[in-house]
Amino acid sequence: MSQPIITARGVSKRYQLGQIGMTSFRDELERLTGRFRRGRKIPSAPAGEFWALKDVAFDIMPGEIVGIIGRNGAGKSTLLKILSRITEPTTGEITLHGRVGSLLEVGTGFHPDLSGRQNIFLNGAILGMSRAEVSAKFDEIVAFAEIDQFIDTPVKRYSSGMYVRLAFAIAAHLEPEILIIDEVLAVGDAAFQRKCLGKMESVSRLDGRTVLFVSHNMAAVSQLTNRAVVLKAGQVQFAGPTSQAIDRYVEEFETHLVQSYATGPMPRKWPGTGHARIEQLSFLKATPIFESNADIEFDLELSVSRPIEKLRISMTVFAADGSAVGGSFGIDVDCAGAANDRINWRVRLPRPTLAPGRYHLDLAAGQGDFTGDRQEYDVVTDVLYFEVLPPKSSGGHLARWESGWGHLILPSLQCEPI
């Protein structure tokens, strides 16, 4: 146990900007001939390079489940591709003491014309299993995927759910010493996701396999892993216990959340009456990250162009996937706003008990509400992005909220004997 199963030292990966994408032979010829023709200079591909990874080093011990987290573009995918030997580093070296199974996509190499049975063998072989290994696990895979009746049907006739379940089932039964999992768990229904997470967890706990798990789902990372590596701009920013790593990641995320929005010049999706215009929105907090039981508060500035008598604010909360979570209307307030007036209000949404995740708002200024006559002066969309943290458990670590449970944490159930 003293020897690390994965050792990375000084791993860097450089991409040549402008060379990404295949060129055609004609372009290349033009570039070549252009060199000889005087007076005509054909610009070569824009010079420049981009380091997707820079001097990355870490050790991973056998049996560990390690999370890799970081924002988009931090280098997670590049690191996975190098670890899975899909591409090679520009400098540095990684030593792996074991077979690697990588799962960057489910169902890689599935052939639509082949039956489920044939695809199990084919996909298993692509993922590095021998025919004997697949045979030994065949029944288990079919049972796990819940597709026994359709095992001899071509997979092109499968529903997308069956397709994904079969692909997952094969992957979940991989038995390499090192398992690398990208954010593939984002697909599939919630119940099946839980089944897969459980399977992977047990694979690691019981068989002592090493798992590298990349995800944006902090709850899944915190549930599954005990150690995590935080990548930022291609460099390891932190490597250590998962809870600390998540704190670092959230801190990192904070700096990218905007605290205030100048909404005056923003394009509008919905035309308003034009009596007033929302000019400025800003959170009270410097970083819009809220505890799950906190009020969401922000300030709003309105410019009035035609006299109004009443004003009320309403909003719709949207989840990161774009689905509406819910709406809220304020009440009409008398305000003799004259033309050219500026109105400043503080708006508070009391304890919305949102599930952990990222949200944003559509905001409207108008009068009246959904129960009667309603008029909107101005509507702004996609503003005030914020994040809600998972509730802390009594032990102090982050609780897990399954995505399938919805975006709202409803009030605690009240049960009593009758």
Binding site: F25, K81, F121
Partner: protein, 286 residues
């Protein structure tokens, strides 16, 4: 948990040598090779009416067209062999070669999707193509033998040919054919991975190459002083050799055969090196 750690050790680093090649990994993935051969063969005729019969129809139609066009109308001699047998025999090795080259010539760009998601030795898909084309070759061989038997039984006068012990050499010729086809296919894959428009080239290359190879004419028609040129074309010696084995006609020299073997081996080696080199960072450019 202790034993595998001792067994497997994988080093990932920028590859310093052009010649580094992981033979062990190729062996480890042999099951995948077999499955890909099966997949390719079954997928080819899944949803067709006649299925694998197409492997018979194509060369037959070609042989009939060649017989009418080159033998009857233009009058190119067939060294005294019934024309249909001559053309079927000539096409055997050539069709295998052109199938291998055609199906492996785009191995990198054609597999970009899967190569960017999972690692397995990049040589496996082109090798599998050699295998699945071999099935088509065997079917054609059976068709040829059926015609051969017919001529032997019903037209003994025309059958001045015989099958001898030299038939044992046929598998060696098949291997050589695969080597040349794969070698050129791998070189083309490496080139088309970078310059996609050169994929158009494969078709023309095959067409011109066929006319440079004694498929529809006997090598003996080539003037003596130009014969050496055909030594540089490994397919010429292979096709001529197959005809000699199966039909008893053909001009094969030891020196020519040696040169052809050398060129075949060199092409394959060069193809593998170039392909492997390109495959290592190919996904970065997709």
């Amino acid at each position: 948990m202790n034993s595998p750690a001792a067994t497997y050790k994988i080093r990932i680093r920028p590859n310093e040598s052009w010649l580094h090649f992981d033979w062990a990994a190729l062996w480890q993935y042999r099951d995948l090779l077999v499955l890909l051969v099966q997949r390719d063969f079954t997928a080819k005729y899944q949803q067709t009416v006649l299925g694998p019969i197409w492997f018979i129809i194509n060369p037959l139609i070609n042989a009939v067209v060649f017989t009418i066009l080159f033998s009857r109308i233009i009058g190119i001699p067939t060294d005294g062999v019934p024309p249909i047998l001559f053309y079927l025999g000539g096409q055997l090795a050539w069709n295998y070669f052109s199938n291998v080259l055609g199906s492996t010539g785009n191995s990198l760009a054609g597999n970009a999707g899967i190569f960017s998601k999972v690692y397995f030795p990049r040589l496996i898909p082109p090798l599998a193509m050699c295998g699945s084309s071999l099935i088509a070759f065997l079917i054609q061989l059976v068709v040829f033998l059926a015609f051969w038997l017919y001529y032997l039984v019903f037209m003994p006068a025309g059958a001045a040919f015989h099958l001898g012990w030299s038939l044992a050499l046929l598998p060696l010729l098949v291997i050589q054919t695969a080597a040349v086809g794969l070698g050129v296919g791998l070189i083309l894959s490496a080139i088309t991975a970078k310059y996609r428009d050169l994929q158009q080239l494969t078709g023309y290359l095959l067409q011109i190459w066929m006319y440079a190879t004694p498929v529809i004419y006997p090598l003996s028609r080539i003037p003596e002083r130009w014969r050496w040129l055909d030594n540089l074309n490994p397919m010429a010696s292979i096709v001529e050799h197959t005809k000699l084995i199966l039909l008893g006609v053909g001009s094969v020299t030891f020196a020519g055969q040696a040169v052809s073997l050398l060129i075949s081996a060199g092409t394959l080696a060069f193809g593998i090196v170039l392909y492997q080199r390109m495959a290592r960072t190919f996904v970065d450019t997709v």
